[in-house]
């Protein structure tokens, strides 16, 4: 591949895909230096922090003592064999890592759940009960004339979202594309990235995130011709809400953006549902779509692989040999709190953000050396990071595009998929 050709005689990589947030930008330029990898172009705080992490290759451990990899694998397999109900959690991995998790969880009779699935379930519950109209990154980038950022600190979660999807100067459909309106619906959102020649108006509607559902429901009712009493709606002056509805109806292609991890309040799925139903209604006359973000730490790949292999998006138990799905019962955090499991295999190969949860359940830790657990796991196997230490595939946040991840350096850190396959072979 051209993109893998070296430049300046070194391993200078072009078009590198970055797995450190759900957007998976694939335009990075990365080269090795004597201090490790350096992001030369199109980096962001997240990608620089992760790609430029120095390579460390600690030894696998059992109960805090260095052991050869084989021994760590054998002990891990023994623990899974002895476990009544293991949880295979974390799941910060690539497609092959997730395939391996599914296979070992089936054989080991365990439960599969991603560390960030609480956020994902704010969407999955809506998908399973009413559905939605959605768009994808390239579609929104080229087509949208109105962006509504709903209650989500998008710039923090995805540092290049605005640069690539909202502020892009070129559009497929016009040599002089019209300016865009960006509405921030929610208080305290970082608006700093919404600027540049493409950005027209920036509108701030400082409501509490918990009240977005109420505001959207009111717009939905008004759009159907109903009257909503009162001067304030969801904590906003009525005129602001009416104005937002008018903008939505007038948009050629409106896009409402949310990041489920940001909607961290009880029953936030009802907010996602309100937004989704409003978008559906708008589409009976004009075009409008949702765009859900988030999906960091391989969460989208985990949900997708689990769904195509087991039929269900995470929170599946294989204890009976059959896939048994219950999005409440098999939520990892609930099971750990209720001490319903006696073993946690935690897989986190991307960033230090995915530390294992505080629990006294015995743990097998398969993690990037960037993670320093606060408690000594029974078994610790450091693994490589997909897209740095080994090649892989990852599903992007819109659940449509997948990207190839590359091996950028030589390292002894094994692929999680290979470690898991060895564990499974010993079961």
């Amino acid at each position: 591949m051209d993109s893998e050709k070296s430049k300046n005689g070194a391993n200078h990589h072009l078009n590198v895909a970055c797995p450190f947030c759900g957007i998976v930008c694939d335009d990075l330029e990365i080269a090795p230096t004597d201090k490790g990898l350096k992001v030369l172009r199109n980096g962001c705080a997240k990608s620089i922090a992760a790609f430029e992490r120095p390579l460390v290759e600690p030894s696998p451990q059992v109960d805090g003592k260095d052991v050869p990899l084989d021994e760590a694998i054998a002990v891990a397999a023994q623990l899974i064999k002895e476990s009544r109900l293991p949880i295979f959690g974390g799941l910060g991995t690539d497609v092959d890592g997730m395939r391996a998790i599914m296979s070992v969880a089936e054989k080991g009779g365990g439960i599969v759940d991603h560390a960030l699935s609480e956020g994902q379930y704010r969407n999955f519950r809506v998908l399973q009960s009413s559905g939605w109209v959605m768009t994808t990154l390239t579609e929104a980038r080229n087509r949208a004339d109105l962006f509504i950022i709903a209650g989500s600190d998008v710039h923090k979660i995805h540092p290049r979202f605005f640069e690539r999807i909202v502020c892009n100067e070129m559009s497929m459909f016009s040599d002089a594309p019209p300016k865009r309106t960006v509405v921030f619906l929610g208080e305290g959102l970082d608006q700093s990235a919404a600027q540049g020649p493409r950005i027209g108006e920036v509108v701030t509607l400082p409501c509490k995130a918990e009240r977005i559902g109420e505001i959207v429901d009111a717009m939905r009712a008004m759009n159907k011709g109903l009257t909503i009493p009162g001067d304030m709606i969801g904590g906003l002056p009525r005129a602001m809400v009416e104005n937002l509805l008018a903008r939505c109806k007038a948009a050629t292609y409106g896009v409402i953006v949310w990041a489920p991890p940001s909607l961290a309040f009880p029953n936030a799925d009802l907010t996602v549902q309100a937004v989704s139903e409003f978008v559906k209604d708008l589409n009976s006359v004009s075009r409008f779509a949702g765009l859900s973000l988030g999906g960091n730490e391989g969460a989208v790949s985990a949900g997708a692989v689990c769904a195509w292999q087991s039929g269900f998006p995470l929170r599946v138990s294989f204890a009976s040999g059959k896939p048994d799905y219950d999005s409440e019962r098999y939520a990892m955090s609930r099971m750990l709190a209720a001490k319903e499991s006696d073993l946690l295999l935690w897989l986190a190969s991307y960033t230090a953000d995915l530390s294992p949860p505080e629990t006294d359940v015995p743990m097998i830790l398969l993690a990037t050396p960037a993670i320093k657990p606060t408690r000594t796991p029974r078994v610790y196997i450091p693994v490589g990071t997909p897209g740095i230490d080994h090649a892989g595939l990852i599903v992007r946040v819109d659940n449509v595009v997948s990207l190839p991840l590359r091996k950028l350096r030589q390292s002894k850190l094994p692929r999680a998929a290979d470690v898991l396959a060895s564990i499974e072979a010993s079961l």
């Binding site: 395939r99 009960s129 690539r164 497929m172 949900g303």
Partner: protein, 554 residues
């Protein structure tokens, strides 16, 4: 190791063999003609059994984003249909939208050895292939969707040099690792994004100024001149619309003799007669298909029960959401490339519309004369799951069973269809054409779908049960690449099938303009958009078979 299948009645239409008792020899995964003194390592006595090549499904939505959206959308489809892990096979679920592994096992258990995903969006090609890679045993392949993607539409709109259009078609087939090209609601998926709500055959797209007819003819001619064996695979305009039959007839006329394949034509054969303004246009469609040898079709038979439709046709699916059952659905605009609509449906035998849809599908089967141009599909899962095929085969082979079934459905529907007057019964030979030889020939699978010397030893052996549903549901033996994989309808060995692709030639210079285009507008680099061969091989889990294409014209 030489294997002998002795004394079976062989139905091998590609070689003109119609139920003759013959021996078949297998060595190294191929059908061979051994030396007279060759030592037989293993013999299967198949006296009284029916022997066919492994089944080939040329149109089944089994892999890709919209299928997985359907899986996620419909946990109720899976609950009660879970499959436990065994020492040989993995766990899975599903009635209408099975998980990938379960889909592979079920096809094999039904005597099928290949299935083709017909609606792979270029933007979603990587995921489609990942899912197909997780579909074991059977061979697979995918048709890449063009016709609503911006690059193609701007080429057409700017009247680009035809050779450049062909380069783009061929490049996309390579990049997406496809064996054929499909159009879905030509231009309509894009038009919907511009808020057009319908796009008739000669209606102009508001932005590009091109019509579905332009798109169809361009792709039909392009593929022919590229030497791609399977003609343009057309999901036409106006799917499911009463009166859509006129569009279908005009599409056939408009092809001007170019080879075309009209898929799930049942959904495009509706008239507007009667009190319900919904009637069968099957007789007119069948007449046109019979008269135009350039046309092949698959039916997309509706089967009664719950399913979940998954289509690239976002425009029409948005309308169909009104009939969603249960009331939940997904419509997506995708990457200035395509779209999708996932809408659950329940086809009820007592519903006038659903009963008539069922009758229209059967009419098409019974009125089209040439089984070489007619393939057996339910457009899985859109008309019903592929596991209904044995039932469908019985409906076609057994007129008394068919009449019995007709008595159980909405009787008014039968008044708007010619089905009650049709007495045709399919023969085993014709079934073998429709389910293996025909699809293999149409897709250009040179050594599949037949049992001649040199063919891949994908072979299915059935008990000659007069109940054809039971016969086709549970083959006695299935061989994949010469290995016994199924015995009495149960998996006995799991293998990995290959991925079939076709690679017409293109001028690599096209990557210069594509590179700029991707850099300017897309969120994926061209270099990452392309799927490499290594991705399909995946360290030996998968394999690629490059099927031949004819010489490119200009």
């Amino acid at each position: 190791m030489l294997i002998k299948l002795t004394g079976g009645r062989v139905y091998d239409p590609e070689n003109g063999i119609d139920g003759e008792v013959r021996d078949i020899y297998i060595e190294n995964g191929r059908i061979v003609a051994p030396a007279p003194d060759a030592k037989i390592a293993h013999e299967y006595a198949l006296h009284g059994r029916v022997v066919m090549a492994g089944g080939i499904d040329p149109h089944s939505h089994i892999g890709g984003g919209k299928v997985t959206i359907a899986r996620m959308l419909m946990p109720e489809d899976h609950i009660g249909d879970e499959v436990a892990r065994t020492d040989l096979t993995r766990a899975g679920v599903g009635y209408a939208i099975p998980s990938t592994l379960t889909a592979g096992y079920r096809y094999a258990e039904m005597g099928y050895t290949a299935a083709f995903e017909p609606a792979m969006l270029p933007a979603n090609a990587r995921q489609a292939h990942m899912e197909l890679a997780d579909t074991p045993i059977i061979d697979k392949g995918a048709f890449v969707m063009l016709g609503s993607d911006d690059f193609f539409l701007r080429q057409l709109s700017r009247k680009a040099d035809f050779s450049a259009i062909k380069d783009y078609i061929a490049w996309t087939m390579h990049a997406a690792q496809a064996i054929a090209v499909k159009i879905v609601n030509p231009g309509g998926i894009s038009a919907f994004k511009f808020n057009q709500r319908k796009l008739d055959l000669d209606e102009k797209h508001v932005y590009y100024g091109v019509s579905p007819r332009d798109i169809i003819v361009t792709l039909a001619r392009g593929l022919k001149e590229l030497g791609v064996v399977h003609p343009i695979h057309i999901h036409g305009c106006n799917l499911g619309v009463p009166g859509g039959v006129e569009t279908t007839l005009n599409t056939i006329k408009g092809a001007e003799g170019l080879p075309i394949h009209l898929t799930h034509i049942q959904f495009h054969s509706y008239g507007t007669e009667g009190d319900m303004k919904f009637s069968s246009g099957a007789a007119r469609v069948a007449e046109a298909v019979n008269a135009n040898k350039n046309v092949s079709i698959d039916v997309g038979q509706v089967m009664f029960g719950q399913t979940c439709t998954a289509s690239g046709d976002a425009m029409r699916q948005f309308v169909n959401t009104r009939s969603a059952y249960p009331k939940k659905w997904v419509v997506m605009d995708i990457e200035c490339d395509a779209g999708c609509g996932v809408v659950p449906f329940k086809y009820r035998d007592k519903s006038f519309v659903n009963a008539l849809q069922w009758a229209i599908g059967l009419e098409l089967f019974l009125l089209v004369n040439d089984p070489w141009r007619l393939f057996l599909t339910t457009d899985h899962p859109n008309g019903g799951p592929f596991t209904c095929y044995p039932h469908l085969i019985r409906l076609l082979m057994d007129k008394s069973f068919r009449k019995e079934m007709m008595q159980t459905i909405n009787q008014d529907a039968l008044k708007y269809s010619t089905l009650p007057t049709l007495d045709r019964e399919y023969t085993l030979y014709e079934i073998a054409i429709m389910t293996r030889a025909g699809p293999a020939r149409s897709l250009g699978l040179k050594d599949r779908g037949h049992l001649g010397v040199g063919a891949c030893a994908d072979i299915t052996v059935y008990d000659d049960n007069p109940n054809r549903e039971a016969m086709f549901a549970t083959p006695e033996l299935v061989f994949k690449n010469g290995e016994l994989i199924v015995r009495n309808g149960r998996i006995v060995k799991v293998v990995n099938g290959a991925t079939h692709v076709a690679r017409p030639s293109y001028d690599p210079g096209i990557e210069k303009s594509l590179k700029t285009y991707f850099d300017d507008y897309h969120t994926v680099r061209m270099e990452n958009f392309r799927l490499s061969d290594e991705e399909i091989m995946n360290g030996g889990r998968g394999s690629l078979i490059i099927q031949p294409t004819g010489a490119r014209v200009a």
